[in-house]
Amino acid sequence: MAKDTIQYVTAPKVDESRKKYCRFKKNGIKYIDYKDANFLLKFINDQGKVLPRRLTGTSLKFQRKVAQAVKRARHIGLLPYVTDSLK
């Protein structure tokens, strides 16, 4: 008999869900540079698609700017339009 083991009726929340935040608002970044491909890598998945806001936590205002910057970077050949192995 394991009396000292605690049993829960409902599973305890192990990882309190951390609140997502918009990094641009938090850090006061006003301009997203389309020439900086390494930075934009944080906002696209390994297929080269733009990550949704629900994953990155970016505010709508800056999500639009991220999308614009990614599109510009694609046009000048800094990011691929389609790929399978970006990361």
């Binding site: 951390r18 997502k20 935040y21 990094r23 850090n27 970044i29 006003k30 301009y31 540079d33 389309y34 020439k35 900086d36 491909a37 390494n38 930075f39 944080k42 994953l55 990155t56 936590g57 510009r72 694609r74 046009h75 000048i76 050949g77 800094l78 990011l79 691929p80 339009y81 389609v82 790929t83």
Partner: protein, 122 residues
Amino acid sequence: MQQYETVIILTPLLSEEAAKEVLTKFGKLMTDNGAEIVHEDNWGLKKLAYPIQKKTTGYYHLTTFKAPGEFINKLEVEYKRDERIMRFLTVALDKHALAFSEKKRSGAFNKPKETKTEEVAK
């Protein structure tokens, strides 16, 4: 006058002098049409993320300039006519972009975004 910046990609087939000649040609075109070149930056030969005109590399060149709005059309037509230019992108700079590029040029920061956004919320 509005400030613009334009990135052009030249074919990698050009020699050093030929590439320089293209750049001086367009520099002259800008100044002749009442534009004022603020800054130029040569990124050199870079690998492309995907092939453009069956080439995997290209010479990148960035020019920042002040110009009247009507000139941009003219400039882009000239870019299209020149087959040595594989790709170009002209962007009007708003006040945040201006502040950013000025700060970058003065070297006030080295890769500011890298340090500021270490923690990626993913």
